[in-house]
């Protein structure tokens, strides 16, 4: 029956077969689905539920497409607040501008700790944020149920995302290796005034201010007023968040390839 109709076996012109054949097919289908129809009664049965998979997919011998652990499924985010370094990279990478960094308790008063707050009304689940997260603290889980009664509930605060994290759902693999030829942050030394802003705001504390020799004053010229320090960036710790570039008052830090 399933084979394509060739020129030899055309549909019968016999009116009795014309009625009987579809009815036989329908009866066979009816008998087959009397035991168990193909539909999954969703709120009561879930594909990701292992007991359901054992009972139905395995017991009936019927493969159910996507019933396995979806290790690349992009659902609701999980946020580990403890390891978040407030680098802003998730918010930078978001194409829908649905991530806003909000203050969470835990930071010092001068530099409050900021974690992503995600508006699922805008989110397109592209996963760029979790790819960009240098610490692997923002990942995507297999949770897909997002219906809420009010629009405001679609905005997930960092605490709510942390609750998702604590459910220990399967999560996307976390990027650990950094590309070898990644751009680094370079310094244009003559412009630097040694203000310490970059070192102060670096989320990973990979910038150290080192003393530089104070040049001898030329005769007749007034000594420049500046702090004789210069930032030195530890590339292996740097997460390339660009915070230092954005806080630098003299625009002396820039992206470039380190020789």
């Amino acid at each position: 029956m399933a084979s394509p109709i060739t020129a030899k076996e055309k549909p019968s012109e016999n009116p009795i077969l014309f009625v009987a054949r579809p009815m036989a097919t329908a009866a066979r289908q009816f008998a087959k689905s009397l035991i168990r129809p193909a539909t999954i009664v969703y709120p009561y049965e879930r594909l990701e539920d292992p007991t359901f998979r054992d009972r139905v997919a395995v017991a009936s011998g019927r493969p159910i497409g996507v019933g396995h652990v979806w290790d690349n499924y992009r659902g609701v985010h999980a946020l580990n607040i403890a390891t978040c370094i407030s680098c802003n990279l998730c918010a930078f990478s978001c194409p829908d501008l649905c991530i806003e960094m909000v203050t969470v308790p835990g930071g010092d008063p001068k530099h409050p700790k900021k974690c992503p707050e995600i508006d699922y009304g805008k989110c397109s689940y592209c996963g760029f944020c979790s790819d960009a997260c240098p610490e692997g603290c923002l990942t995507m889980t297999t949770r897909y149920e997002l219906s809420v009664a009010r629009r405001a509930e679609m905005v997930y605060s960092p605490e709510k995302l942390y609750d998702v994290f604590r459910t220990k759902l399967p999560m996307n693999p976390i990027r650990v290796e950094r590309p070898a030829n990644e751009d680094a942050i370079l310094l244009d030394p003559p412009l630097c005034i040694g203000c310490n802003a970059c070192s102060r705001d670096c989320p990973t504390q990979c910038i150290t201010m080192l003393d530089i020799p104070k040049p001898a004053a030329k005769p007749g010229e007034k000594q420049t007023k500046r702090i004789w320090k210069e930032p030195v960036i530890n590339d292996s710790d740097c997460v390339r968040c660009g915070t230092c570039i954005s806080v630098c008052p003299k625009e002396c830090l820039f992206w470039g390839t380190r020789k």
Binding site: V19, P22, M23, T25, A26, A27, Q29, F30, K32, S33, L34, P37, A38, T39, V41
Partner: protein, 376 residues
């Protein structure tokens, strides 16, 4: 056989009610209330209410039954969330339709637009007054109930046409036209097939026709008439594969395109009422009504209301057959429908009349079986 009948139940209920009412009233009022004529009047009212409630309940159950069966035919489950196994889903749907706004197209004729659905509904409901459900459970012993039922049954396309015409919509009008053409093509073979039954049973009375089948159900000897009748009923009920008047793919919703809310619900309910009547007619004419063959154990046919139980089982099975046809066959074209109606059905039904005449004469035919002799 159940001793209680529809008359006795409603009469007993009415007299009990009125006597209870009369016992707390002063003398003259009591005499007025317990007047036999008043009791009979109330009994008729209760009788009508029971009929209405039973027919509507069965119609809604029939929709549920179709949804569940069709679901299995399509490898799904059908309605299952509201109530047990989705039994209350149709009540929820009805409630939703009831709450909806009813509006009328600008150029529509209000008289036809509003009377059409109501008359369609009413004519479909009237038939239940003449259909016997079990021994004693019928509205009367009219001698021509079969003729009356078929006459009322074929009345409905007129109101379809009225409502289609007054909707002032080309799709509605096309659907109404198709409905009228379909009725003319299929009314004739149905009546001719029924003539075969009448010949064999020797009566126009549905109750008599059922009792004539106590030994042999008519579906065996009159199988040709049964096929013609079932096909004609499918066309009369406008179900797939003969649902041309409301072909969704081409005519939006056919003659009920312009209807919404409760008016649409009227059409929907009346459609299923007609489907119920069609199934009941098939059971009454060919499947022995509420009687069961003699080889069925007596315990299965002698419990209270056994007749109604078996009658309902048969009716729902026949409707299941209609659902099976609906799940299998595609919609036919208008020319195919008319050609089958005029070129195939009418000769077949004439053949069935001939076979019935032969059967009545010789009592038994090889392969087809026997029929009880008329007057013998």
């Amino acid at each position: 056989m159940a001793s209680a009948t529809l008359y006795s139940v409603s009469d007993g209920l009415a007299s009990a009610l009125l006597h209870a009412l009369g016992s707390v009233l002063p003398g003259p009022a009591r005499a007025a209330v317990t007047n036999p004529n008043v009791i009979v009047g109330l009994a008729v009212l209760i009788f009508a209410v029971i009929l209405l409630a039973a027919s509507m309940l069965n119609t809604i159950l029939l929709i549920w039954w179709e949804r569940k069966l069709l679901g299995r035919f399509m490898d799904r489950r059908g309605a299952m969330h509201v109530g047990f196994a989705g039994l209350l889903q149709n009540f929820a749907d009805g409630l939703k339709l009831f709450r909806k706004n009813t509006f009328q197209p600008q150029e529509a004729d209000p008289l036809g637009f509003y009377t059409g659905p109501c008359a369609y509904m009413v004519t479909s409901l009237i038939i239940f007054g003449v259909l016997p459900i079990s021994s004693g459970w019928n509205a009367g012993t009219l001698p021509l109930t079969l003729l009356l039922a078929l006459a009322i049954f074929s009345f409905a396309p007129l109101f379809i046409f009225v409502s289609a015409w007054s909707s002032n919509n080309k799709y509605s009008l096309m659907g109404g036209m198709r409905s009228a053409a379909q009725m003319i093509a299929y009314e004739v073979p149905i009546l001719l097939a029924v003539v075969a039954v009448i010949l064999v049973a020797g009566s126009f009375n549905l109750t008599t026709i059922v009792y004539e089948q106590q030994n042999y159900w008519f579906w065996g000897p009159l199988v040709v008439a049964l096929i013609v009748f079932v096909a004609g009923m499918l066309a009369e009920m406008e179900r797939i594969p003969f649902d041309l008047p409301e072909a969704e793919a081409e005519l939006v919703e056919g003659w009920n395109t312009e209807y919404g809310g409760m008016l649409f619900a009227f059409f929907m309910l009346a459609d299923y009422l007609r489907a119920l009547v069609g199934s009941i007619l098939v059971v009454l004419l060919f499947l022995g009504g509420w009687t069961m063959p003699t080889w069925v154990p007596g315990a299965l046919t002698s419990f209270p209301l056994a007749g109604i139980f078996w009658f309902m089982v048969k009716t729902y099975t026949v409707f299941g057959l209609f659902v099976w046809v609906r799940a299998s066959l595609p919609r036919v074209r208008t020319d195919q429908l008319l050609r089958v109606g005029w070129n195939r059905m009418i000769p077949l039904s004439l053949l069935s009349i001939f076979l019935a005449a032969v059967l009545v004469t010789v009592k038994c035919l090889p392969l087809l079986g026997c029929v009880p002799g008329v007057g013998s």
